[in-house]
């Protein structure tokens, strides 16, 4: 057996050497040209220029036609982003409003009212500084109480801003939160005050007239604005408010504050009929409406 192995050893080694060389050469050739093993087949339509999507800007279409397809594709991409993330101009529109909520409530029996005219500047369809200038008055004789309160027609002023959560959409429809700082200086009378002291059996009436006061208050509100037709819209906002400071007299505390309502109230409602003046060419036109992503 040992002799048999010895006689076959030279040819066995030769075979091993040859196989090793062939394997090494094969590996070397694979290492030199790796890309040839992973080439993706080219589809025939890759070389074709796709037509621009509908609604593409005319300038981009002209670039396609003139053969500058690379630049056209880039412009189309930017145009698409502008459509999805439309940014309204800084001065989008100006809205003039008339707040008629409380005169309307007064027609249904409320004993006080505040009405104002307001102007709102819509910036980027997002931030909306606003001013309100109005007049408030009251005349109340509560059923179970002993006085008549007359709030003389007095002015009030509010300044603040809204934030439009729907700033990516058309300005015709807005969901808003707003902050206001209000101030009023006003006069009032308390008449026919009926005083009764049951122990001393005193019973008489008195008046407190010529009273003057002032108030500074803050408001935070949430509301909606909806287009009715053309430039006319309706906006309403429910407001939570609180008094920072008010004038206290030696003979009285004010009950009604113009623009605020009853001093102890915490909520009010505004209802505006609005007229919108566009400050930008496309601010309210239909072609300004952003495309849906």
């Amino acid at each position: 057996m040992r002799r048999l192995i010895d006689s076959t050893r030279p040819s066995f080694y030769r075979t091993i050497i040859v196989m090793t060389m062939v394997f090494t050469v094969a590996l070397g050739s694979m290492a030199q040209e790796p890309d040839k093993r992973h080439v993706t087949p080219v589809k025939p339509e890759t070389n074709q220029v796709k037509p621009p999507p509908k609604g593409t800007d005319e300038k981009i279409i002209q670039q396609y036609i003139s053969g500058d397809s690379a630049k056209a594709v880039e412009e189309a991409r930017k145009d698409s982003l502008r459509r999805v993330y439309y940014r309204y101009p800084r001065l989008t529109d100006l809205t003039i409003g008339l707040n008629l909520a409380e005169p309307l409530f007064m027609a249904f029996g409320q004993s006080y009212a505040s009405a104002d005219i307001n102007a709102t500047l819509n910036m980027w369809n997002r931030i909306q500084p606003t001013v309100e200038l109005g007049l408030g008055w009251a005349k109340a004789t509560p059923d179970d109480m002993n006085f008549t309160y007359k709030g003389k027609p007095s002015p009030y002023f509010k300044v603040g801003a809204n934030y439009n959560f729907m700033f990516k959409n058309t300005p015709d429809y807005q969901a808003l939160i707003g902050l206001r700082l209000g101030y009023s200086t006003f006069g009032y009378d308390v008449t026919d005050a009926h005083y009764v002291n049951s122990y001393w059996q005193e019973d008489f009436t008195f008046d407190i007239t010529g009273q003057r006061s002032h108030a500074l208050w803050g408001e935070v509100g949430a509301g909606l604005k909806v287009k009715l037709w053309g430039p006319v819209a309706m906006a309403w906002m429910i407001r939570y408010h609180g008094i920072f400071n008010y004038g206290k007299n030696t003979q009285s505390r004010p009950w009604f504050i113009p623009g605020y309502g009853p001093r102890n109230s915490s909520l009010s409602l505004s209802l505006n009929i609005c007229y919108t003046l566009p400050l930008h060419r496309t601010a309210t036109s239909s072609d300004n409406k952003p495309a849906q992503p």
């Binding site: 309160y149 002291n197 122990y199 001393w200 059996q201 803050g218 609180g242 003979q251 009950w255």
Partner: protein
């Protein structure tokens, strides 16, 4: 930064909610509240009667009751009001009444408080006088009597047991 508007709104709401409202106490009148003390201790006075001097029908505010405080209504049509207070005290042989008078001088000012409270009179107390048979001293705690439960007078009675 995206949360900033929410934080601002929340802070404002809390600030506005903190703005206090006026409350209306009792029957919508300004009544001076007198609290009673013996030996420096706030306590009930047994056998106490209170009556306004000149009140129609000699009406009593308290009739032989045990009280640690009492409202003393003031007349709005005059500038002073007097009250007589007496305590029934039993000795070894008899029952006697120890009687005192308190007089308050003031200015009555018409005042409109609020829609809930209505119109009333406030009183600016100028001085207090009293006799000293059974009252040791009277302390005026505030000069302005309004519609609140803040005590206006502190009446120190003498200890009749000693």
């Amino acid at each position: 930064m995206r949360r900033l508007p929410h934080i601002v709104v929340l802070a404002l709401v809390l600030t506005l909610a903190a703005c206090s409202n006026d409350s209306c106490y009792d029957n919508g009148s300004s009544l001076p509240l007198a609290t009673f003390y013996i030996n420096g201790t706030h306590q009930s006075i047994p056998g106490l009667s209170i009556m306004g001097i000149g009140v129609p029908g000699d009406s009593l505010l308290a009739n032989n009751q045990s009280l640690d405080e009492a409202y003393l209504p003031l007349r709005a049509s005059t500038s002073s009001t007097s009250y007589t207070l007496w305590r029934m005290f039993t000795t070894a042989t008899d029952t006697v009444a120890v009687r005192d008078t308190i007089t308050l001088n003031y200015e009555a000012v018409p005042f409109f408080h609020s829609a809930e409270c209505g119109a009333m009179y406030n009183f600016y107390i100028k001085s207090v006088r009293h006799t000293s048979h059974g009252i040791d001293s009277v302390v005026l705690l505030t000069t302005l009597v309004t519609n609140s439960r803040t005590p206006a007078l502190r009446i120190h009675f003498t200890d009749l047991q000693q």
